[in-house]
Amino acid sequence: MSNSNQPEVRVVHTPTFIDGSDLETPILKILQQDGTLYEGAALPDIDQALALKIYDTFLFIRALDERMVAAQRQGRISFYMTEIGEEAADIGSTAAMASDDLIMAQYREQGALAFRGFPLKQFMHQLFSNENDLGKGRQMPIHYGSRDLNYLTISSPLATQLPQAVGYAYGYKLEQKDNCVICYFGEGAASEGDFHAAINMAGVFKVPVIFFCRNNGYAISTPSSEQFAGDGIAPRAVAYGVKAIRVDGNDVLAVLKATQEARRMAVENNQPVLIEAMTYRLGAHSTSDDPSGYRSKKEEEKWREKDPVQRMKLWLINQGWWSEARDAEELDLKRKNVMAAMKEAEQVPAPSIDELVTDVYDVPPQHLVDQLSELKAHIRKYPDAYPKTAWRLNDE
């Protein structure tokens, strides 16, 4: 039909329905669990330095996640989310990006930020909402962001970053920059209307964006079988002028390879790409969650055997780039560093009360100035009731 974008259309005279069985989405795998490559597998662009940087980030995140879950249990921080089991997905893909490509994360991609070089102490300042937090202590733990590292501050409402990624990428295109946005989201978030808006607009505007879906099987307690009835997320791209690829999300080489290819298409041809990484959240949704209410230990066990960190370690050892001894040493060191940084960050005071009203606007308008000064007067009256802030007012 002339208003269809597909020029040649096959005409039929008996009803012919299409459905999921008409489209097959293969999955890319490069690295086997034993650390050897599949036969005929095409290696990504990776050298020893990059490999070790990725793996180093893996270990750091394991140490950080493990420690901070414990810290939450001890009541030192209020909330935490781990990415255990999914490290290959976010870290492997970020490793394919240029360092000035924008990252838009959902919330389970601290690995991507660590890979970019976010200092351990900055993680801690955010987690403890102290005065050194770049976000000024305003958001819950794990809502990191860094302008310097091109990592957009995380926002809790799901999928809002997807159409934003298209707009940001449009800016790159307008300015003819050789950059690309990578935008992470879960298979649950992909049910939001913003997902549809984003993927459709990316196709229409032809912008350099990679939509990276971590399909980890669950959205809190909801299994993907109750989230969608189709074959995952990748096939959705097919209808929108977006290319898609599915990868084994626990296979860091497959993730890296797919993302390198995707970035090339995005930057060279303004071709948006969707990557679906099949993986599994080995931990709880967050420290507020207990997965035993909705899934079996057996299922978890099956996925623990596919551990992406272990898989990469074996490959590194096969390459002669790593050893079990170094591994233990390095993990131990990281644990110590995390512990030390935590102890330091928890001593840092909360941000000044002035920060309660800054950044609502570029300049605080009169009513906020008034509200702040009334509040200060009140705190001065009842200093014991506001211990976080009162001591500073007295200093003023």
């Binding site: 305003r138 809190i220 109750e226 909360a350 309660l356 976080k388 802030t389």
Partner: protein, 325 residues
Amino acid sequence: MSNMNLLQAINNALEIAMSKDDKVVCFGEDVGHFGGVFRATSHLQEKFGKSRCFNTPLTEQGIIGFANGLATQGHKPVAEIQFADYIFPAFDQIVNESAKYRYRSGNQFDVGGLTIRSPYGGGIHGGLYHSQSPEAYFTGTPGLKVVIPRNPYQAKGLLLASIRDNNPVIFFEPKRLYRASTGEVPEGDYEIPLGVAEVVKEGTDITILGWGAQMEVLEKAVALAEKDGISCELIDLRTLLPWDVNTVVDSVKKTGRLLISHEAPRTGGFAGEISATIQERCFLHLESPISRVTGLDTPFPLAHDKEYMPDHLKNYEAIKQSVQF
């Protein structure tokens, strides 16, 4: 009577509503087998089957769109939005659809059976997106009812009335009180009528008005003020739309003073509406300006949540200021 916390009271109300009327259907994100992230719908799927209590995909606009359609069909959907902060993707379905369904069709079609439940408010270290009190976004929408309970007894009676009310009702639950607020709750079925405020405590010097979790804070403030010899009349508005103007007017005519308190930011908060209406109705009775003790005009903060909140001390100070005016 049995001792329940607010969550148990909600759960109990849902169970009664579902067992008495098979048109009642509960759904939302994680609402099914898991019973919701706060467990308000625990065991309902076991008891009533997967077709009447179930998980939805993660799409608030879809959840309310679906609920609108099901309500139009004659069912009584009780849709949960996991946090009130996440109700906004459904804003169009609520404000342009639910609220206007009956009017635009000349009463041929309506979504009167619809109830939207959602935990709201601060005090759980939630920062910007797990703390909002968005009631005023809805009280400006004719066609909706907005209900907020303050304790388990109220929650059960008001929720049962909301589910059975023949209008779309938004029912905000003070999540800070889910486990913290406990009390005696009748085991059987009962309803607390919508649109009727409750005078929780009588007094003569000043009227103190609030709703939801703020009522606890106000009770504390009132206790402080009473020690100073100020007699406070404390009112729980309970239904914010349509609200019980007469009860508040009667009280203010008696006390001559009014303080309204809510967690939401001041500008555009529902206290403004109440203040405007009461000064229209009670102009000659007012002995001091109607006072608003509210959240600040900022997003909900994390590190400074205590400073942001309209706590008992801020209310106590405002009561004194009003009486000393």
